[in-house]
Amino acid sequence: MRLVYFAQVREAIGLDAEERDVAPDQSIKSLVELLSAEDGRYAAAFDDRAKLRFALDQQMAKADAIIGKAKELAIFPPVTGG
């Protein structure tokens, strides 16, 4: 699936998007844990879990949502437009 990152998360990871193989029964939360354990940049980007927001196929999703057949997962900080 495609992972996309924005704002502080994008800068901390150093990527705006990447392709990853993700088990469909995995939750967003467990994927975040997995990535954090894999690499310090992800650990830094996801350090404050309370300040992470997610969208599955462009729909806002909770951390415990199952990824399922979604094609795109976006991870970003709380929005600050307007």
Binding site: F6, Q8, A74, V79, G81
Partner: protein, 153 residues
């Protein structure tokens, strides 16, 4: 009539006000780059695949809840200097209460739901803006049942 746009270029507030459908009452909100402790510019990042759809969904909710005859939402992205307009919300309805409430609803919800992120520049120093709890609280106040409004007609 719903018109939602995400664009880098500046918008003409007067021209947008003149083209909205509807008579009776027109309300608008314009957000402008503010000199918060020496801010010289801001940069707006967004999630292109999601932004327009999320703005359109908010506009559709407002039109249904307040029976609007017209709704225009324009949000700029990219870099903007101090004093430039960032966002424009225009709502039209037969009476002022609906137009004013819908306009406040749209800007309050947009600030907490639409995928935009703001970076402030003070000269060369750049800092991401943190989301405010007060914005969450304002947006949450609109979660009452449809038909309830803040102002009496």
């Amino acid at each position: 009539m719903i018109d939602v746009r995400v664009q880098t270029e500046a918008f003409d507030i007067g021209a947008e006000m003149a083209r909205i459908d509807g008579a009776g009452a027109i309300a608008s909100f314009t957000g402008i780059v503010r000199d918060d402790g020496g801010v010289t510019a801001i940069e707006l990042e967004h999630y292109p695949a999601m932004t327009e759809a999320s703005l359109r969904e908010l506009a559709e909710q407002a039109v249904a809840r307040w029976s609007l005859s017209g709704c225009i939402l324009i949000h700029r992205v990219g870099r903007m200097a101090l004093g430039e307009a960032i966002v424009l919300v225009i709502t039209a309805a037969p009476h002022r209460a609906e137009a004013l409430d819908a306009c406040a609803f749209l800007i309050d919800r947009l600030k907490t739901e639409a995928p935009f992120w703001k970076k402030e520049y003070r000269g060369d120093a750049a800092v991401w803006v943190e989301a405010k709890a007060s914005d969450e609280a304002r947006a949450g106040e609109w979660s009452c049942s449809p038909g309830l409004t803040r102002l009496s007609p």
